[in-house]
Amino acid sequence: MTHAQFLASLTPLTSAIPAQQITLQPIDLIDVCKILSEGGSRLISLWGSDERVLNNRFQLHVLLMTEAGYLCLHVPLDASKPHYPDLSGLFPVANRLQRAAFDLMGIQAQNAPDQRQWLRHGAWQTEQFPLRKDFIANPVSTSEMDDYPFVSVAGQGVHEIPVGPVHAGIIEPGHFRFSIVGEKVLKLEERFGYMHRGIEKLFENKNLENANQFAGRVSGDSSIAYSWAFCMATENIAKITPPDRALWLRALFLERERLANHLGDLGYLGNDVAFSFGFNQFWILKEQLLRNNASLFGHRYLMDRIIPGGVKVDLTLDGKQIIEEESLMLEQNVATLRSIYEEHAGVQDRFIGAGKVEPPLAAKLGMCGLAGRASAQAWDARVHFSCAPYDKLDVKMATYRNGDVAARVIVRFDEIVESLRLQRKILVNLIGGSELAHPLNALPANEFGFGLVEGWRGEVMVAVHTDEHGQLARVHPHDPSWQNWPILEHAIMGNIVPDFPLINKSFNLSYAGPDL
């Protein structure tokens, strides 16, 4: 396929964000991805679908962000030999995504250097694939620890520290294998999948209301981002646009989710350098925000407030007043706390230089979201190819080049200031219109669509495929942690073991989200 043929075969997707799609043969996949990768495209997600009942094949789907918008590649795969060429050489993030796609769907990246299992431990057998339509769950399969082949580091004085899955704090489970000399970390290898809940299978054939509940619980700290992305996907498929007021309210919810998480993280980052004052102060602010969420919208984390077609709750005039007062209170307190953090020699000594990810490495590995912006990866889905109402908000993106814990702290401080500004601008625009949703109950048959929003951690994407009856045949939620977890393995290298909790916290990645 020539470049001209490729461009001519692109078809636009009806979508709230600029998106195109194309169907490719496996043999063309590498050439196309090479052109896209050289043109600066980034791989967002990769997943498989089982279409054997409909047309006797599997399909691989690859979503990329190109200079012209989002592009989804659909690659039909032979039902008896569902193979496709390995993409991890062009896009390193494909490594774990391809392994997960094999574990769940049995489609295989040929000649991939790393073919170890990723999400499968012991809950199902090697030759079983849970996302295939003919999968039968085996209730007797055990869940004893599997014998995962970690990469070991040899040499005089090298030893290993295994940590997890159960960690020392209040945190999700995952396993970290450190190879160290003295205090210095030579290598970190992550092993996840402990949180695998089979959520993609649970989406199948659910009605939209029920599926939306699952979307809001892929990763609870990003409930709004996932709900919005899922609803956007269904609205794109149904070719409807929610009322303006609903879109403004969605943006308000998303910024409040960002504020709550950034406030919480800044508190814990203080706590992790033994500055408990920071924890207490920031968590007072977070608690006040959550309480306002509960009193204004009926839920501290705003779960299930976004619905397909719109939103479920409105903001009253009194509510506007409460948010305005809260914004002022947050602005003043966060400014004071920022100067205290910046002038505290002990805090800065721990923050500066710890867990550094240089911009070239970040670019090569496809780092994204908040952590990416702290390593000069200037991408923010609220700025680039933004969906309504962000196209009217003129979001100011925070980016820094240092790529250390200090940079990730500063990005959070800057983004709090910006979210408070956006919140005010949203309140000004929340005038007129009382309609909250264009109800959406059914979807057209055999359609594909996706939604993508910038959650507090990074780009959250949900892809939706419908079957011949308009039912949900396949739903694939993608967490930005897929991109950034492998980068944490690089960030810790050469640092000392006691700095790991701090560096890990500065990324604050999700386990439940990518474990699916």
């Binding site: 431990h121 012991g122 809950a123 199902w124 849970p130 999968f135 769950a137 399969s141 869940s143 004893e144 620890m145 899955p165 159960v166 020392a168 704090g169 209040i170 945190i171 999700e172 489970p173 999948g193 402990y194 949180m195 695998h196 809940r197 089979g198 959520i199 299978k201 649970l202 509940q213 699952f214 619980r217 892929v218 990763s219 609870g220 700290d221 409930s223 919480g264 004052f277 924890f279 207490n280 102060q281 968590w283 007072i284 977070k286 608690e287 959550l290 509960a294 501290r300 984390y301 779960m303 004071t336 706390l337 100067s339 205290i340 002038e343 505290h344 999700s510 386990y511 439940a512």
Partner: protein, 173 residues
């Protein structure tokens, strides 16, 4: 330093009165004798395990440590090792991949021990009972003394559950 002290003074004391005990949260009775519960004396060490939650329940458990709920002020704290714990707090519909981790943590806690299940997934299985990857509610795996439902339960509800599990039952008096 001046600025830090000024901020502390301006903040004042935010801690609120803790909720009372709620007997209806109890699922197991007579598991621990009155004398043993009395020995806990209100002080308690908690080991927390996320066995399959979406991380929202964890957010609320974190909130217990903020100055409004001031858990440590009540003599209750989270500990890093199950060997140091009196109570196991579990969230989530137990995933098959966490089954071993949960059982081993429970076994590592010295007897007498208490278990509290937090959130709809841990109490009843929530939305995840039909999954090929999940084992259902926590009491399918280990004995549970108190359940606190909600998606997620508020910090006040979780605190009430903790205070209930360490209170002695009225019948034991």
């Amino acid at each position: 330093m001046y600025q830090t002290l000024k901020q502390i003074l301006n903040t004042g004391i935010r801690t609120e009165t803790p909720p009372g005990v709620d007997e209806s949260l109890r699922t197991e009775t007579d598991r621990l004798q009155h004398e043993i519960l009395a020995a806990f004396g209100g002080a308690l060490a908690i080991r927390m395990v996320d066995a399959g939650s979406c991380n929202t329940c964890e957010q609320e458990v974190h909130a217990l440590n903020n100055p409004y709920y001031n858990l440590e002020g009540l003599g209750i704290k989270f500990v890093a090792s199950p060997r140091h714990a009196d109570l196991l707090m579990v969230t989530g519909n137990v995933t098959r991949h966490m089954l071993t981790g949960l059982k081993r943590t429970y076994d590592a806690i010295p007897a007498p021990k208490l278990v509290i299940a937090i959130g709809d997934c841990a109490c009843s299985g929530g939305l995840f009972n039909d999954s090929y990857a999940c084992c259902g509610k926590v009491s399918n795996i280990i004995p549970v003394d108190v359940v606190v439902s909600g998606c997620p339960p508020t910090p006040t509800a979780i605190l009430q559950g903790i205070l209930t599990v360490i209170s002695t039952k009225p019948t034991a008096k």
